[in-house]
């Protein structure tokens, strides 16, 4: 148990110096790489989809998109703090790919770049595109803010930068670098980052898992027993309920647990950057096969995350992890700082730097993907003119999307700096809940229900988004509790922390009722000829 002491010890200044040099070198190399792999042609298609990266590359990139930094750090952390509840969350992350597996084929068949393109196959005018753009921004902006704020926080903790000023500088500098890379590199840059991330993250996690199991002579039972005893509540560690917020009644805790699983299972498949990534795959069959292979990668990651989470509980202890971050996001960095003799030894420092670099590139890749999806929604959906006026104007759209990437990125950086001192854990749940309550019902109805109407689509998108945001504002995660965004305010009349149990049925019901009873006369809608010709030409060219 020497590693327990090592984890508790601060990171040595030598290691921090090496880490700073490696970080800076890593950032410069990645930026240059993104500039080099940027789109060869100045066309929107090349910018949004990138070039062919082969099925293996596409699978790695899609796996990277489905495995953002919040999932990597959050899953490991919740397992280390809440045992069985954390493992269930890890399983839900895997289950979310079941929905993506079914949607991948139809999305690839009917999609082009953005979520709005799926709705544009019916000639319903600009309204649905604008609504899709608004819903996409509502999903992406909170996520982007969270990712950028995490960059500053993680870099600050790893490099020993204390104070919110230093963390804000780290957020701004790294944020500007990654936004610049995305402006020039587009989807090719995002794909390259996701592939590097996939390889590096798995290598780092595998090294950590081997080192953790080595401490227990490769006996998982011993690891489980030690994790239980170090968790502070050994009797409850492997049964449901440890993740319940203090002060919440058991009944509400049960409803919140179900709501959280629902948010994860239904939200991930409809995230705009996931849909955009599926659209880069060559055809329907390869989209389905790719998602299935991503499931295997995710299953492997879930196993690694369980071992790392239990390892963090065993070596670091749940109390110390919770003290560093109540959500458990610090579990993996704390664990890696204590392995192989700690950061004062060469081996321990190497492990720590490997994990830190893997986490850095994970956050960079996630940020690039989300920024690109949000910018595409602005340039391709919100500011899009009529189809005929757009013909042959790929160059004008590419300059619009580059400006949009810069604008969205700078907005994200400004938001991330301004919320640096707040508890922003609700932002990821908010993003997932909006995706599950507005984009998912709209995509499902649009792809599988021929009688879906324009009015039903607008009600689904605006109604689902509005309901989710409103319920979040009136929930205990926003105000009225010590862990809320604004603890001193008291708007929390809605009792549930996971609003998806209400907002998802509302989104589906609004679409169904308005679609079935609305009778607007545009039921189903004529197929958009411009759209179908453009997608068929894309498919053939890819």
């Amino acid at each position: 148990m020497g590693s327990v002491v090592a984890a508790a010890a601060p990171i040595s200044s030598n290691t921090r110096g090496v880490l700073l040099v490696v970080f800076l070198g890593f950032l410069v190399v990645i930026l240059l790489f993104c500039l080099l792999v940027g789109p060869e042609e100045d066309q929107a298609d090349a910018f949004y989809k990138g070039g062919p990266s082969g099925l293996f590359g596409s699978v790695l990139a899609l796996a990277g998109v489905c495995l953002p930094a919040a999932t990597v750090l959050g899953t490991t952390g919740t397992i280390s703090l809440f045992g069985y509840d954390g493992m269930f969350i890890a399983l839900s992350t895997l289950l979310s790919l079941a929905l993506l597996l079914v949607l991948a084929g139809p999305l690839r068949r009917h999609g082009r770049f953005t979520v709005g393109d799926v709705f544009a196959r019916r000639d319903w005018g600009r309204g649905p595109r604008i609504a899709a753009g608004v819903a996409t921004l509502a999903v992406c902006l909170p996520l982007l803010t969270f990712e950028l704020a995490s960059i500053g926080l993680s870099a600050g903790l790893l490099l020993g930068l204390t104070g919110s000023g230093a963390q804000a500088v780290a957020t701004v500098m790294i944020g500007i670098l990654i936004v610049s890379a995305t402006v020039f590199g587009g989807m090719r840059c995002a794909t390259a980052l996701q592939i590097i991330k996939g390889v590096l993250l798995f290598a780092a996690c595998a090294v950590v898992v081997v080192l953790v199991l080595q401490e227990f002579h490769f006996d998982p039972g011993g690891l489980l027993r030690t994790a239980q005893s170090q968790s502070g509540r050994p009797d409850a560690f492997l049964s449901q309920g440890l993740g319940r917020e203090a002060g919440v009644s058991p009944a509400l805790g049960v409803v919140d647990f179900v709501g959280l699983q629902l948010t994860i299972v239904l939200g991930i498949a409809a995230m705009p950057h996931v849909v955009m990534r599926v659209n880069t795959l060559p055809d329907v069959a390869s989209a389905t096969v790719a998602v299935r292979r991503v499931m295997h990668i995710m299953a492997a990651f879930v196993v690694l995350a369980v071992v790392m989470g239990l390892g963090a509980a065993a070596f670091v202890g749940s109390a110390q992890i919770a003290a560093a971050d109540p959500g458990g996001a610090s579990a993996l960095p704390l664990l890696s700082a204590g392995l192989a003799g700690g950061t004062s030894t060469a081996g321990g420092a190497a492990v720590f730097i490997l994990v830190a670099c893997a986490l850095l590139v994970t956050v960079l890749a996630s940020t690039a993907g989300v920024t690109l999806a949000a910018a595409a929604a602005v340039a391709h959906d919100l500011f899009r003119r009529t189809q005929r006026a757009e013909r042959g104007q790929g160059r004008s759209e590419i300059s619009t999307v580059r400006w949009a990437v810069a604008g969205v990125g700078l907005l994200g950086i400004a938001l991330a700096v301004s919320v640096q001192r707040w508890n922003i854990n609700l932002l990821t749940t908010l993003s997932l809940a909006i995706a599950a309550s507005s984009l998912l019902p709209a995509l499902v109805y649009s792809l599988f229900w021929s009688s879906y109407t324009r009015r039903g689509l607008l009600w689904t998108l605006y109604g689902g988004t509005g309901t989710t945001i409103a319920l979040h504002v009136f929930s205990p995660v926003f105000s009225g509790t010590p862990s809320a965004l604004f603890p001193q305010w008291h708007l929390n009349w809605f009792p549930l922390q996971s609003v998806a149990l209400v907002s998802v049925p509302v989104g589906f019901l609004l679409g169904y009722l308005v679609g079935a009873l609305g009778g607007q006369g545009t039921r189903g809608g004529p197929m958009n000829r411009d759209w179908s010709s453009s997608t068929s030409s894309n498919s053939s060219s890819s």
């Binding site: 597996l101 039972g221 299972v265 299953a299």
Partner: protein
Amino acid sequence: MSRSNPVLEAEGAFRRRQSSPAVRFLMVNAAALVLHLTLALTAKTQLAAEVMGPMTVGVLLLVGHGFLLLWTARLYTSAVVSADRGQA
């Protein structure tokens, strides 16, 4: 209208509609999730019982659920890919 007419059924007039692979895949996994959540919330003591050393029934159920998902995904993918090849 008698939907259970044996003569008409024998003639295939009321052939049962075959559900698509996607519907079957989603139904199986949704049912498994609902069942798993129900068990996790109502049978905490039973799921916390140790069966293989410190390994509990609940942990084994999580592993089993993961395998069920991967197995049904394999069946679904092969059905979709073969249907796609058939269309081509």
